[in-house]
Structure formats: C-alpha cells, structure tokens
C-alpha cells in the first residue's frame, strides 16, 4: 500500500487497537502488522505523536522483573477515533462506488 495512505490510516488503527485493550509496544506492533505492513513506516514515531497530542497516555507495569510501558487511550483519543472512523466510513463509500464503476466498464 502507498506509504502516505498508510500513514493516514495508521493513527486510527493504533487508536482503535488501544481502545479495545491497553497494550505495550511489541504487542501493538504485532497487532498492527497483522493488518498492515508496518516496517518501513515505524510504529514508535506514531505512538510518540499520539502521546504528544494527548490521544494516548502511558503507564508502566512490571513484567518479568522489568518495567513495561503500556499505552491506553484518553477521552480525547476516543473522540478523535470516532471522528476518524466516520471519515474512514465516508472514504469507504467513495471506494465502494469507485469499485462499482470500475466493474461496470
């Protein structure tokens, strides 16, 4: 998929995953990459950006004798996710229409 398109969707994807359940870096990476190929866009900058925008917050939790950083969604993040999803739905309608017209040709 085109990198620019991927980047636009990535924020929403991360937010929706964290919205379901608090998670940590590696797990999140696994979940995201099960849906989109992530390697060349890198997840960490996305997480950082979302945290800076106060859409995500972090807390530390002990695991195997070390601290693991967990990400959870903020109310602002939830609101943002909702907006993003409605945008994406709109996009979906456009895509479906595009697909249909191409099929008719």
């Amino acid at each position: 998929m085109n990198i620019q398109m991927k980047k636009g969707i990535l924020d929403s994807l991360v937010l929706s995953i964290v919205n379901q359940q608090d998670t940590y870096g590696y797990e999140l990476s696994e979940k995201v990459s099960s849906i989109v190929e992530i390697a060349e866009t890198a997840l960490y900058p996305v997480l950082r950006r979302l945290e800076m925008q106060s859409l995500l917050k972090t807390y530390s939790k002990e695991f195997n004798g070390r601290l693991r950083k967990y990400y959870s969604i903020t109310p602002k993040g939830k609101k943002n996710l909702k907006l993003n999803l409605s945008d994406l739905l709109e996009l979906k309608q456009i895509i479906l229409k595009l697909e249909e017209e191409n099929r008719h040709e």
Binding site: S29, P45, R48, M52
Partner: protein, 406 residues
Amino acid sequence: MNNLDQFIEQLLILLDDLPESLIEQTKEFYDSFILDAKDEGLDDDEILKKLGNPLHIANQIKLDYYLNNESSKRKRFAKVSKAVFGRKVVATGFAAFSAIVTFFVWMMFFLIEVASIVVAFAWLLLFLSQSVYYSLIPVISVLGQLGIAILGFSAMLLLSRFFHLFSTIFRQITIRLITGKKRAVFLKSNKSSRIRFVLLTLMFVVGLFSFVFTPTMTYASSIWLSTEAPLSMIQTDLFSSDDVDMISLELLNANVEVSYANVESIEVTYTKEPWLEYSVVLNEGVLYLIEETNHELPFMSFLARHPGMQTLTIVLPSDKQLDHLFITSIGSNIHLQDIDYNLTIDCDNSLIQFNTTAFYNYDIQTSHGEVIFNDNSLGEGYLLNQGSAISIQITGIFARIEGTVS
C-alpha cells in the same frame, strides 16, 4: 556487538541533536520492544526485520519533533530569537537607531550650514562692489560651507550604509549561532550598490578636502590681504551710514578720515608707530583712542602718552560738537580750535592753546605749563596754573574766570 545493539546505536547516533530525554525514551521503547520480542521466541534477524530501517525511524521522529511546537524547546528559543533578531526587527531597530542619530547630527549640520551659507552670501553681496580681494574671502567661504554640507550629508549616508552592513552581518551571525544552521554570512554585493558606495566615498573625500581646505585658504587669503592690500583699503565710505552706535576701526598706519552723522562714539585701535603722523578727523561724538590693551583713553591723553605722534587734528562742525573734552596730559602741545564744549584739562608741562573756542564749563589745572587763549568765550569755570610763567592772552567774552597763579 550484535545486530540489535547496532540498530539501537545507529538510531541513537541519528537522533544525536535531539534533547536527551527524547533519545532516552526512544531507547527505552526499542529496548523493551526487543526484550518482548525475545520473550516471544523470535531470533535477532526476525526482530531486526520488525524494527525496520533506523534512518526512516529517526527521520520520522525528527520531523515530528521539529513540526511539533510543544515538544521543541529549541524551536521555541529559535522562535523567540527569530522575533528578537529577525530580519525585520533588526532592520527596523538599526534603521530607527541610525535614523535618530543621523537626524540629529544632520539637523545640526543643516542648521549650521544654512546659517553659514546665508551669512557668507550676505558677505559676498556686501563686498561685491568693493575690491576683488575682499570678495575672494566670501567666495572661498561659500565654497567651503557647501563642502562642509556635502561632507556632512555623505558622512551620514555612509554611516547609514555601515549600519545596514553591520545589522545584516550581526543578524546572520546571530541566526547562525542560535540555529546552528549554516547560512551565507557574507553579503551579496551587486554592481549598483558598489557604484553607490564608491560615489558616496568620493563625495565624502571631496567634502573632507574642502572642509580642511577652506579654513586654510581663508586664513591664507586674510594674511595675503593684510600684507598686500594698499592702506587706502581701509574703506571710509563703508562707515557713511547714519545712526550707528559705535564704530570700531583699526589704524593700520594710515590716516583716517571719518565722516558720518549721529555716531555716539568711535573707538580707534591704533598700531603704535611713533615716526608716523596720525590724523583723525572727527565730525561728531566722543573719540576714544584705544591702545592694544583695550584701555580706553581720552584722545589728548592718548597724545600725551605717545609724543611720537606729532599731530592729531580734530575738526568739528559748528552745529555738531563734542559734549565734553577730557584732557590729561604731560608735556603736550595742545591746540584747540573752533570747538565748543565743556572742558576738563589736567596737564603738566604743557602748552595749551585755545583759539576761538567757547567753553560753557571748564576746569583747567596745569603746572609748569602755558595756557594761551585767543578769541575765546568762556562760561563758568576754574583755572589753576602752578609753578611756571603763564601767558594768558584773552580776547572775547568771559562770563567768569577763577584762577590761581603761583
């Protein structure tokens, strides 16, 4: 060092110019990521694949960092400094500064110039009808004043160009220091600005030259005038105007004739040359002869003190007389003729001769002298003559004489 450590190290090097805390957080994330991946049983190559390209990650982090206002202390500083040292602010500040400085200096120059040029032109007009020598001084002076004006003007323009230059260099150095970004510090100079600069410098040099040249020339010409000019250049008709309070002239070893009306007093500063004959013809008023010490003396006293001066003739018209004549003299020949005034004489060893004079009030004291009256008319007065033979020839009408002869 394995591949994973290399990845971390590469990433940290790439992020080197970001704040410490950000680098620390990034390291923490990836350390944790790798440990979690290892816990899941992945080998180094698999983990490396998941981590991605350190250059891409670093670029993304940097991009976010520089775009994000909140995260960037450095950027905030840069913003502030941009506001403070920004092109417009610096330019405006320096422009205002130089404008204020140049305005006041220039105004001063301007006012002085206007005044000097007006005076110099007035002088030129005044002397234009006179000798060529005299008109030379104001011509030089006018040129000089114009030169000074050019000097001041070009100096101000040059100054403002230097201000501009300094402000530009200062601004660029500041930006370079703050942002660490390399920018062209040196100014671009185009052809027209160079030509302007050369022209200004030329103006400045011309102005400077005339500024130095003018006083020198004026001085030189004044010396030349005083040595070369004929004595008759002491212009008598210059003083022919009416209603002058005071006339001051210099006796340059010359005979002076002064004709005028309604002048209250004359000051004559003389150069003492005993072998020369002086002649001052006075029509009205009080005559003071002033020595170089500026000590004021009645003219008879002046005569007495300078016996080398043989005659000083004063001719007064009958309708315009001296108000009072003071004579203090030792060893003088005093000859008064056709005068009509109050008299005070205090002379020793003097010959005093009066011809057709009329004294309303007189006070004459002499010792060892001779007083001769011919055709005189005396009012009330006091005559004291001590010590010597006195010859008084009196003709005319005397109201009263009081005398002591010893």
